[in-house]
């Protein structure tokens, strides 16, 4: 990481009146040319972060840097950042062409140059031939592309996208996910994408920031966050998880459900109480005598690619299983899983502590995960 970050938040807090803060002491860095996703439930502060970056609101405290320049008080119209708004906010009194040309006209660009750029931007988003359409004559997906064209035509260094896909149906949504990702790679600029859809975040991002209640819970690549969630919230929010209370006996040995299991986690105090995560797809169905755990099947759902089984062990813990194999309701089955499938989480661990712990045992080197 020799390159300077393009955006840096330093202990940024945003508070309205005397209400509890909406963003609470948030710090992060974003690098040039990467696809970032802000992921979190409704009302957690995702849009607020975007508005702080674009300059539409000011931070209550803390510092915001753009390429090492403090921009706390730089107004929105002076920042090299453009936004695709949650509701697109396309101007209803202008047609598609004029919407896209808006930013260029403000910069007093020559007409023929504007024309060239607008047409290029529209080609970029596959909207050639729609120049003279009114906004209300465009479909949801087309509007979204107009909004993107209107933003990228200004050649911003950072593009902010606030849940641009949430209004689209599933098919178009998946299509646009590919298109956006490809667009980001072609443009080579930084994208900050907001969503509350975890699958979308996993599919598109270089890095995900998982946010809850005004705090960043965890930052990392989709793989990192999926495989090594820092706490119960992240584990639950990113994909389905089986989370169960346990005890870390010693390094590489964890106890839960009354049994001890080999695992790959370390750096805990002996007998420390922990939470254990096992992803539903990491559980394999076998016969009871070969299983590490035995459970009784309660419900079976067909989910297209796999079956989703809900089952209970003898202590009443629920286990969700994703499997291509089917099992009878009421059947006793065995569950098998690899030591790597177990992920152990410490209670109340901060992101820094978590990263430090992971790094400390990366350097042991020999006993590695994956």
């Amino acid at each position: 990481m020799t390159e300077q970050p393009i955006i840096r938040f330093e202990n940024v807090t945003k508070q309205y009146d005397d209400d509890p803060p909406i963003l609470d002491n948030v710090s992060f860095e974003m690098e040039k040319g990467k696809f970032y996703t802000l992921l979190g439930p409704s009302g957690c502060g995702k849009t607020t972060i975007l508005r702080l970056i674009s300059g539409l609101i000011e931070a209550t405290s803390g510092k915001i840097y753009f390429k090492d320049k403090l921009i706390n008080h730089v107004p929105a119209n002076k920042r090299q950042v453009n936004t695709v708004f949650q509701d697109y906010a396309l101007f209803p009194h202008l047609n598609v062409y004029e919407n896209v040309a808006f930013g260029l006209r403000i910069r007093k660009m020559k007409n023929d140059e504007i024309d060239k750029k607008v047409r290029e931007a529209l080609r970029f988003v596959n909207l050639v031939g729609f120049e003279n359409r009114e906004i209300k004559e465009m479909s949801g997906g087309q509007r979204q592309r107009v909004a993107i064209a209107r933003a990228i035509v200004n050649e911003p260094e950072v593009l902010l996208l606030d849940e641009p896909l949430s209004a689209l149906d599933l098919k178009l949504r998946t299509e646009m996910q590919y298109e956006l990702r490809e667009l980001q790679q072609r443009l080579g600029i930084t994208f900050v994408f907001v969503t509350h859809d975890q699958e979308e975040a996993l599919a598109m991002s270089d890095e995900i920031f998982v946010i809850n209640e005004g705090k960043i819970q965890q930052k990392g690549t989709p793989r990192d966050i999926y495989d090594e969630p820092i706490n119960r919230f992240v584990a639950n929010f990113i994909g389905e998880s089986n989370i169960i209370k346990g005890k870390m006996i010693r390094d590489f040995l964890v106890e839960f459900d009354g049994k001890q299991f080999e695992c790959v986690d370390q750096g805990f105090s002996p007998n420390e109480p922990v939470e254990v995560v096992i992803r539903p797809e990491d559980l394999e169905i076998t016969t009871p005598d070969r299983g590490k755990l035995n459970v009784k099947v309660d419900t079976v759902l067909f989910r297209g690619v796999h079956y989703e089984l809900c089952s209970y062990d003898e202590n009443g813990n629920e286990w969700i299983i994703h499997s291509t194999k089917k099992a009878e309701i009421g059947a006793e089955i065995g569950l098998y899983f690899e030591p790597e499938a177990i992920h152990v989480m410490r209670f109340g661990e901060t992101e820094e502590e978590f990263d430090a712990r992971l790094e400390s045992y990366d350097s042991y080197g020999d006993k590695d995960a994956d």
């Binding site: 929105a76 453009n82 936004t83 101007f91 009194h93 808006f102 910069r107 933003a151």
Partner: protein
Amino acid sequence: MIMPILLIVYYSFLDIHGNFTLANYQKFFTPVYLKMTLSSFWYALLITAVSLLVAYPTAFLLTRTKYKQLWLLLIILPSWINLLLKAYSFIGIFGTYGFANALLEVFGIGKKQILFTDFSFIFVSVYIFIPFMILPIFNALDKLNPSFIDASRDLGASGWTTFRRVIFPLTFDGVKSGCQVVFIPALSLFMLTRLIAGNRVITLGTAVEQHFLVTQDWGMGSTIAVFLIISMVIIMLLTGNKKRGGVG
């Protein structure tokens, strides 16, 4: 609704003795009446323009205040007071011994003839009509989706450019209906012209009143009224909403 209009059209073809004639229309196209028409339009335009210039910023500020509905009510309230009452109170204020002149004296300017001037006429008319201008503009501004303003700022527009390119065009329908509800009654004002302008300003409205109540020439009065109605319809058609793209 249509009956009185038909009646007026019928009367406009009668002379003072009740015989059928086209003379009224001939008379209307003489310089005296044409000048009157012109002056009516001129004053109505002036009143509308001044109202708009004051009303738009007022409405804009209103949408940004905390208790905007309350403020709006306070502004609308005076329009419920009888017009005559308001006119007479202004005579009090603007009269030779009124408050305005007292004020001028304090500033060492000395007494001035305020009542019966163009200024006082326009001032009082604007005062009376302005709530009707503020209301539709306020509604349009209030309905305006704030993310359009955000988008404009985001795309690099300053506050003023945002106003010119986004806010004003998107609230233009409100401006149009405001102008309509001010311009049309302003065209046919008559009481104020007499009370405040002291008959110095003679508009078509005054002329209609004159003919009906003083000279009893109902035919000529009706003819002028017909022209007033025609111009109002034309104005409505010109400024009418062609139901273009919705705002919001």
